[in-house]
Symmetry: C2
Subunit: 330 residues, 2 copies
């Protein structure tokens, strides 16, 4: 029987996550019960939402308790099966978390021929679907409108901007650092990108990058950037509240002052989580796969090697050090 | 020729409005040009939005400049007509502002037999339509849900709560003072009303009044009350941002801290102004008049006597001293 390694939660972080909030434990790999498969994990996805799961504040899903294995979406290979539809060697998308092996009844078989396995954790997974449904269903971009997205080089933001271009919009990114901004404009084809770390006058930068104002703001960060964008929204603008990464590690939340813009410009500010469209994932995946196949969507991954480095990878992600979709190769 | 009296703006207020921000001027009544009527105003509506028009901040409509006659909706009687469809004696709904006489091409003939003339400035006017469209189109209440409305005894709030009851919802008001709260529950039929002036623990009071949480919050005040309600909203709750009266007189806007609730509970927070539905006023008026005729809507007015007292009436309104729809009888 193979040996399992797993990261468990050692303590709930306050403020920034530290490596000591996790503990690596070793045990025998579990045995599959009837209906289950034993899966060897190949890829682990690291995502900003994980900060919410390990904190003490209320989030949209059950949190991880101290001593439990850290949660996360995974791609792996079936090594032993007592599941009626799966056999050893099948590649599967699962939620087995930060460990080398796991057993589950809930494994979705995926096809290696269509796309690299890791894509099912990114552009053909939750981040891609988040971008697709958030932009289409809440943002509702019309040709000629201006769409701004923060964390523009990230797994969600990069897809939002490219979908906005496909929809005939002006796409403007916000990202931290020259390298990310160059990637967003030169490789992903956004019309402009604002480097919020270098820019002293964020408001002025938004005005210059969006001469016709902002119709859709897809927000992955919250805080001051959201506040600044609220004041630049056009009449009947839409703000997709997808992530508030700037708040996740804050002990005191940022306090928003530009609410008056919501009234004056009749804005719609709406929160979203991709699970809300789970009955329509097929539609989203078909659209994303079609754009990928036609070369209309570009995609980049940031890979950390080895389970041991998962905590460091999450910390880097929360600090914006990643570049594209953050993964751990197990 | 009759003598006219008019309140003009003497200076833009900073913080609370003062009587000295207005100046009463006397002149000859104007003569109607071709296509115009000369109207003797009978009723003047006072509304919270007026604070936005006389301030220096951007609002959703053109502001009043120093020296201009103060704006406002009016009901009056035609005294002289060069308008093809109107004749002396006709009662009309107009936007002639704070003055005894005015000329206009834009006068809507109203029917005294259906309802008292002043109702066209309230329950059958902009406040009633604001309540109707804001609740129906953004709030979208379903039977069994809980609807909370602030400024619950006011011209808009009183209608929102009663329409919520008609829709089969639990209606909870927020108002300032025992007398207003008693009116809201005993006369208007709300299920509960929170006296925010007496209540030390607003959050606890909302929890007690809304044991199943809040599905729709119709916000007329903004500030701390909005912030508190955001944290009590149910999954997929809707917040109608209709007025931010608490901000209108503030020199520094309140800074909202519970934005995380928008993400976690996938809330929709949407700004509105009744003009957005101007093509559908007929539908709203028919519904409101129908409810009135069947005795399902109750309505109360707060009347100030004489044009001279208009500034005082507006100041009292902005301080929450009115009780029901605020009017000036000219």
């Amino acid at each position: 029987m193979p040996q399992n390694k797993a990261w468990t939660l050692a303590s709930h972080p306050t403020g920034w996550v530290k490596e000591e909030n996790f503990k690596l434990v070793t045990s025998a790999a579990p045995q599959p019960a009837g209906g289950e498969v034993l899966v060897k994990n190949l890829w682990l996805s690291l995502d900003p939402y994980m900060r919410g799961r390990i904190g003490t504040a209320k989030s949209y899903a059950k949190g991880v308790s101290v001593g439990e294995v850290m949660v996360g979406q995974t791609v792996g290979e079936v090594v032993e099966s007592r599941h009626p539809q799966l056999k050893p060697g099948d590649k599967v998308l699962t939620q087995l978390g930060w460990q080398l092996f796991g057993v589950t009844q809930e494994a979705i078989k995926i096809d290696e021929r269509g796309a690299p396995l890791s894509y099912y954790l990114g552009i053909l997974g939750m981040p891609g679907l988040t971008a697709f449904f958030g932009l289409q269903e809440i943002g509702q971009p019309k040709p000629g409108e201006t769409v701004v997205v923060s964390a523009a080089s990230g797994a969600v933001g990069s897809v939002v901007g490219q979908l906005a271009k496909i929809a005939g919009c002006r796409a403007v990114g916000i990202a931290g650092g020259r390298e990310k901004c160059d990637y967003v404009t030169r490789e992903l084809g956004f019309d402009a990108c604002i480097d919020y770390k270098a820019e002293k006058d964020l408001r002025g930068a938004v005005e210059r990058a969006c001469p016709k104002g902002v119709d859709v703001y897809f927000d992955n960060v919250g805080g001051e950037i959201l506040d600044t964008l609220l004041a630049r929204m056009n009449l009947f603008g839409r703000v997709v509240v997808c992530g508030l990464i700037s708040n996740y590690n804050a002990t005191e939340p940022y306090r928003l002052q530009n609410l008056m813009a919501v009234l004056v410009n009749r804005l719609k500010v709406q929160g979203m989580i991709v699970f809300d469209w789970k009955d329509r994932y097929g539609e989203g995946l078909a659209a994303l796969a079609g754009h990928l196949a036609r070369g209309r969507l570009k995609y980049r991954e940031s890979v950390v090697q080895g389970l041991e480095n998962a905590p460091r990878g999450l910390i880097d992600l929360l600090q914006g050090k990643n570049f594209g979709k953050q993964l751990v190769k197990l």
